[in-house]
Each structure stands twice: as C-alpha cells, then as structure tokens.
Symmetry: C2
Subunit: 361 residues, 2 copies
C-alpha cells in the first residue's frame, strides 16, 4: 500500500525567539543542524517515504516561505494551507481527505516538522514497522519513546503489559495519554517502565482515521466531508477557508486517540528530542568541556553550562564568569536568559506584542 | 597667578571593552552621560579654568581622535602627544616644561580624563581652594575623597590629624599613599577616619613640581630639561620621541609625592567616582526598581541588578530570569559578564590579542 508522509508544520514557535519569529517559526529556522528544520524532517524519512509522497500542512501565512524551503523536493500542490490554526485534529482530517481523493486509500504517517532524531536507522525501522502494523491490522498506531529522564516537558503514554500478537511483537495496546506531569509523577512513570513519551507521530490508513473521525468527531467529520468534492479542485482553498472557522480546535490525542479502541503504540528509542526550548540544545548538540553548546564566534572565560547562538556574520560573543545562560544574538534583537527560564521566552514575545513591537515578533 | 588644567588622557581603557577599544579608550567614549568623557571632564572645571588654558596629554595614537572630540574647545597645540606610555611622572614633567616655556610659571591642576563628578559646585570650590593653597604655600596639593564604602578598588591616602594653619583650614599634611587594600584593611581605613581615596588629582605651581622632579627624579628631570629648548618649537615632537623611551615608567605618587616633604591633601566629597569598570555604572546612574542600570532598548522580565548597554541604533536587548550581569552590545562584539568579574574584562581583551583578533581590540 502507498506510504504517505504528512508533516504538521503549523507551529508558531515563539519559544525560539529571537531566532524564530511569527514569519519564520521553529520549523523554518536552522536550529539543530545547518539545514532548516523542515528540510531535516524530510531527510529523516527519505529512505522510507519518497519525496513525491510527502505532504506538508501549514498556516496560510507560512506557505510561501515553506515553499521556498522545500522546493523542489515537495511540490507546491502538496503544501496544504490552513486558513487558521485549529490544533492537530482538523489538520489531520483535512490531509486524510486529500489523500483519499488522490489515492483512494493509502497509509499515512503524521509527523511533526520540528523534532530532532539522531538514530535515523532505527527511526526508519520503527516507521517501517508502524506502516506494516497499520496496513495489516487497521490499528491507529502511535510511536512512543522510552523516557531517558523524568521530563516534565513531555506528555506521556501508558501502555499495557503484554504485546499485541506474539511475544516477539513490539506493538502494545495504548491505555491512556497523560499531560505533562510534575517531577515526582514523572519519576514514577520512568521507574514503572509502563510509560513512554508521546512523540506526536501517528501512522494509519487514511480510511481508518476517516472512519474514526466519523465515529468520534461526527460534527467535524461532517463539516469537512461536505467540502470533499471541492478538494483537489480550484475551489479547495475557498471551501477550506469557509469551513475551518467552524471546526473545533482539538488535538488528535483528545479528539480520536483517547476514544478509539483500535489504538496501539510502538515503544521506541531513536535519539528523539522535540527541541522544545533553547535549553534543549544541550541534549541535541555535543557540549564542550565546560558543558556549553556554542553556535557562534565565541570567546569564553569561566563560562559553564551555557547555550550561545550567534549571528551568521559572526559577531563575537564574549562571556566572562557566567553559567546557566542562554544567549541568542540576531541582527535586530538579543536574548540573555537563565536556562531554567527558557520555557518562558514566549512571555517576552507576548510582552513585545503588548508594547506594539510587531517588528520584533 | 594663571590657572592651567592638564588632563591626563593616556589610558588604554580595556576594562570597558567592547565599547572601548585601543583606538577609542574610555576617555573617548560616552559612558557616564551623552557626552564623551573627555568633554565631560572639560565641562567639570569650566567655571574655574578657561578653555584656552586647558591642556591634554595623550598617546600619539589617540591625538587625532582626541582633537576631533575637543575641537574647537581645546586648541590642537594644547594636545601634548606622548610617543609611548610611561605612566604619570614623565607626562606631568613634560607638561610642566610646556607651561614653563609658555607662561614662565603658572598654577597647574593635573586631572584624570575619565572620572565622574556629580557635585560640580563643591568640586569647583575644592579646586579653587587647592589652587589658592598651591599659590600661597608652594605645596604639592592633592585631593583626597572621603570614602563612602570600604572599596578595594581604590588606592588610599593617610593624612595627619591636625590641619595645616588654623583650625578652619581644610588642608592636611599627607602622611602616606597606600595601594589598593584587601577588604578587612579597607574597612579599618574607613572606620579610622584618617584615610581618603586617592583621586589622582594634583594642584601645584609648575615651578614647584619642576623643582621636586629635579630633587627626587634627577635623571628624568635632566633628560627632559635637555630638550626644553625644543619645546613649543617645530622640533618638539622629534625631541620628545627621542627622549621618552629613556625615561623610567613611574607614577607621580611614587616618583614625587611619597618622597617630597611639601605635600598636602584636601579631604573632599563631591560625588566622585573613577568609573573603573562596567560594574561602577550602578554608582553613577540612577537604577530602576530592580536595581538595573539600563542604557539600551531593553525588555526585561525578572531581571535584577544588571548593567545593560546597547548600540546606538537601538537593537533590542531582552533579558529573562537573570541577575548580576553586565551586558554590553556593540556592532561587532557583545559582552555578557558577571558583575563580580567586571574587573577581568581586560582578560578577554588579552585573550583576543593572543588569538590575533586585532580587529576587535
């Protein structure tokens, strides 16, 4: 069966300000390599899914920049434009309808646009297994990651004790989703061996997820089904623009995965990181002897455990007697932030908006 | 008697890197106001000494920039150029010889180029008193500052218990100079009431300081006296360039003040600060509610006790969850430094030299 990738690239990405901006969110910047994240994401599954079977769903404001980044690898007609953000459920429903129209049915892997993966061989193997499972069992398959530390920044998935099928199976019944826990609970989860990080990666047949929408989200399904004749015609954009504002803003986890019975998870380990804030760069990049991640023309004396990101033109960043800082230099704005507060960078962006500094957000 | 100001402006000023550079040291940057420090210094004594009686001694490399800053207030011929740095004694001897040649004799006030003074009225009064004392007593007069805290960054002056002359006199015999003390000793000094901060300001007759050089630094005196015929002639620059390398590199404190008997001090209080490092800006500028000194387009959340200096073009500096930092942004280099390490900024400059980054020093 045909294998399709649907990359969800709708994020605003204020947590990587000032490098990311409204017009160039996280998926459109170079963060974890010399490639823009969306291109890195496409490379991740290059051996499993062909370029011409890759779709990207993004916000209408980002379509032009997205196109500039992925051209010619992804055809412009494969960039699906959302007129406004409505979380992941509408986005997945829309792309499933596009796939149905184009191919009748196909396997689709729903993948985030801005995660880091270091063990690509294992990732390919897991993706292949997930496709195989979805094709042979009509399950809604999700990929869970073995937690390597008690993260309070990730959602968790609890899974059942015994694998589905024979003992050699790596596929388990999914029991429930858990929101980001506090540290104590996260520690319990890790110890228990029954919890995985929720990667936000899903693999299923288009027909199976459409059926699930019909069952569990009948209103949303009906609204989108009503315009399915327009999909892949010149009327698609205006039809979507008309319907989207009426759709509930729901995550796929809540809309479908928690309600459906045919949900399973594959516990995995492929060096995954969602790169959720500047702080996370130390988990993605090798650090120097003083535990710094330096991506700049930098001179440091007594500098420890810092993340330093510079401008392309190589302006020097000198640090002296500092630790646990995130320093991000861009042509028009500079950030100096304690590492423990990296999650709050979005508050700065909010404050800039409040002060009318639209030029900087 | 004619009153002359001699501003000593030879400093390299690496402690204010990256705002100060080799070519634009502390006295040539805007640090404590919207004026360049040398211009601020000239303004300090504007009511006591006239512009045309102002001299500046500086390094030959800085003459052109100095001229650009002080023109037309100070005539180019009043900027004395040292071919190389030899501490304060040769610089003062040279300027005394210039004054002798031009005016026969005159009162000269030797003043640092880069200090901050907030109470200008009191400063004028003290300067006037010092001139008067030097004129009527042939003393070498120095100005001492009442310490306001046990600074370990300043040199101290111990003075005798009873004033010279009547009880109303504010002039005291100077007993000895003390190098920068440790904290315990500094605390003792402040408690004792017999110690003052050494301001590096001196007032005397040219004839009296020349006599003191002849007595206490006979070699240096002889070498410079040998070229006194060339001074204020077209041969001056080459004569000075020939002699200067032979002169001992000595401070006026050690060369003369500690040896001479006719040395006195006027204890003073006029909001003086030598602005010795970025850290000192909090003593010069008013701080905000969170004890920050902000000289930039700045957005701070949970930012305390920081010094933030931005570029002229107003690049935004955003800070989040940080305290006790010095952040200095310039077009080609950025400094992030813990306040307690502000004295060590010169180490960064040294390291840049070692790495061949002459463009940045």
């Amino acid at each position: 069966m045909k294998r399709i990738a649907v990359i969800m690239a709708g994020g605003g990405g204020t947590r990587f300000w000032p490098l990311s901006r409204l017009a160039t969110p996280k998926q459109l910047i170079k963060l974890t390599s010399d490639k823009v994240m969306i291109n890195e994401t496409i490379d991740h599954f290059a051996k499993t899914i062909s370029r011409e079977d890759t779709f990207i769903v993004t916000n209408c404001d980002q379509v032009a920049r997205m196109d500039a980044c992925v051209y010619p690898e992804v055809d412009r007609s494969h960039i699906l434009s959302e007129p406004l953000a409505r979380n992941t459920a509408p986005c997945i429903l829309y792309s499933a309808l596009v796939i149905e129209k184009l191919y009748g049915d196909a396997l689709m892997a729903v993948l985030p646009a801005d995660h880091h993966i270091s063990d690509l061989k294992e990732y390919e193997r897991i993706l292949d297994l997930a496709f195989h499972t979805a094709e042979t069992t009509d399950q809604l398959v999700t990929i869970g990651l073995w937690p390597t530390f008690p993260s309070t920044g990730y959602g968790y998935i609890r899974f059942s004790e015994n694998p589905i099928g024979d003992d050699a199976s790596e596929v388990y019944r999914l029991q429930r989703f858990v929101e980001k826990p506090d540290l104590l609970r996260a520690q319990e989860y890790v110890r228990s061996g029954r919890y995985l990080w929720n990667s936000g990666m899903f693999i299923w047949k288009a027909s199976v997820i459409l059926k699930a929408f019909e069952t569990h989200m009948p209103e949303m399904y009906a609204a989108m089904r009503a315009i399915s004749d327009d999909i892949r015609t010149p009327a698609e954009a205006s039809a979507v623009a008309r319907v989207y504002p009426e759709l509930a803003s729901e995550s796929i986890d809540y809309a479908i995965m928690e309600k459906a019975k045919n949900v399973c998870v594959i516990p995995s380990e492929f060096g995954w990181n969602d790169v959720g804030s500047w702080d996370a760069l130390t988990e993605v990049f090798p650090t120097d002897d003083d535990k710094n991640v330096i991506r700049a023309d930098h001179l440091g004396i007594d500098t420890e455990n810092c993340v330093v990101s510079g401008t392309k033109d190589g302006r020097l960043i000198a640090t002296l007697g500092v630790k646990d800082l995130v320093i991000v230099d861009t042509p028009d704005a500079l950030l100096v932030c304690h590492r423990s507060r990296a999650q709050d960078v979005k508050k700065l962006v909010e404050e800039l908006k409040n002060r009318g500094r639209r030029d900087l957000v």
